[in-house]
Point group: C3
Chain length 157, copies 3
C-alpha cells in the first residue's frame, strides 16, 4: 500500500474500533483482532520508566473473548454509554509486514441519567497486519494518562 492508502486504511480501522466499542457491538469488535493479538492497558508513567506493569493484559484473542463474555454479564449492573474521540492517527509500515498505528484518544462516559464525563485519555500504540483483505490489530496497547478511575478495567478502551 502507498502511504496515503495506508493512512486511510489505518484511520478506518481506528474508526471501526471506536464505533463498535461505543455501540456495544463487542463481538464484532473482537473481529478486528488477529487470533494471536495481544491487548494491554499500561499507565504512561510505567512506559516511560521502562516498567512492564500492565493494568490489564490479554495475551491472545481467546483471553480477550473471555473478557467480553464476562463484560456481558457485568453490564447488567454497570450500565453506561461510551463515546470515543480519536485523533492524530499515524500509520507506518515496517519491513516485516507490520503496520505501526498510533493515535490519541479520549473516552467520555454517560450514565443512565444522561450525564457525561471525561473517563479516560491516552494514546494507542498498536501493531496491525493485513489478513486476507483486511487490516487487523495484532497488538493493541492502550497507554493511559488517566489511571485513577476505579471502574477503568471494566470496559475495553
Amino acid at each position: 500500500m502507498n502511504p496515503a492508502d495506508l493512512f486511510q486504511t489505518a484511520t478506518e480501522l481506528m474508526a471501526d474500533y471506536a464505533e463498535l466499542l461505543d455501540a456495544d457491538r463487542l463481538e464484532e469488535w473482537l473481529d478486528l483482532f488477529t487470533e494471536d493479538a495481544t491487548y494491554d492497558v499500561v499507565p504512561r508513567e510505567n512506559v516511560e520508566q521502562g516498567l512492564a506493569v500492565s493494568l490489564m493484559v490479554c495475551a491472545n484473542k481467546a483471553q480477550l473473548r473471555d473478557r467480553i463474555t464476562a463484560l456481558r454479564q457485568a453490564n447488567e449492573y454497570n450500565l453506561h454509554y461510551d463515546c470515543h474521540l480519536v485523533s492524530g492517527v499515524r500509520a507506518r509500515a515496517t519491513d516485516e509486514g507490520i503496520v505501526q498505528v498510533s493515535a490519541n484518544y479520549a473516552v467520555f462516559q454517560t450514565n443512565l441519567e444522561g450525564q457525561s464525563r471525561l473517563f479516560s485519555v491516552g494514546r494507542y500504540q498498536d501493531c496491525a497486519r493485513v489478513v486476507g483483505s483486511r487490516l487487523l490489530l495484532c497488538k493493541k496497547r492502550v497507554i493511559v494518562d488517566t489511571f485513577s478511575v476505579p471502574t477503568l478495567l471494566a470496559t475495553p478502551l
Copy 2:
C-alpha cells in the same frame, strides 16, 4: 466519486459544519443544508429502543431557519462559546445518490468567565447529497449520549 474523494468531501463537510457553528456563523451554517433537510436530536437510549421521541425536530430548512432567528434573540442572554471536536468520520454512498455520513462528536462550552466544560457527546448519523458542486446535508440526526443538560436545546449540536 471514488471512496477516497468521498471520504475527503464528507470530512470537509463535517469540518465546515463545526467551524461555522463554533464561529456563530449560523446563517452560513444553514447553507450546508438542502431545502428539504431534516434536523433532529434524539437520545441514544430512544434510538436503541426504537422509539421515535426527539428532543428537537426541524422537518425542513424553513423550520431550521426560524430556529436560528430565535437563537439570535436568545443569545443576548445566554452568551457562550462552543467548540466541536469530531472524529471517526465515515462516508458511504448508496444507490439512490445519498451519502450516509457518520461521526462521533464532543461539544465543549465556555462561559464568559473563560471556564470550559464538556457540554455534549454523541454521534452524527447523517445523509447528504450532491447539489450543484457541493455535498449538502439532507438529513442531520444528532444521537446524544448526554441528555441531562437543561440548556441542551438552546444550541444546535
Copy 3:
C-alpha cells in the same frame, strides 16, 4: 501540492505537533517551526473584538526556545501529562507560498495521581510554508476559548 496532498501534509504536521508536545519532546517540537516563526495565545473574545491583547507572545523561534528552556526548569515542580485531540483540520494554499492551516483542539491534563481534566479548548489558526522537503509552522496562533486557567501559560498549547 494538490489539495489532497496538502490536506494530508497539514494533518501530519498537526499530528506531529500534538505528539511531540504530549510526549514532552519539546526540543523536537521546536523543529516544527521556521526561524522567523511567531507563536501567540489569544482569547477568542479579543480576536472577535479586534483587540491585539495576547496572553503569551513569542516573536521568533529564539524566544520560543528560551521559553522551552524555562519550562524544562519549571517542570520539576509542575508535573503533569498533556493529551491533545485535534479535529477539523483545514489547509488552504495562498499565492505567496503560505499555507493557512486551522483546526479545533482540546487539551486534557492529567496529574500525578492519574486524574484527568479538561484543560483548554480552542482553535489553531496557523500559517506554514515548505522549507526543504518539510512543511513548517511560520505562525502559530492559539485562539483559546478557555482563559480562566491559572496555569494556562506554563505549557505550550
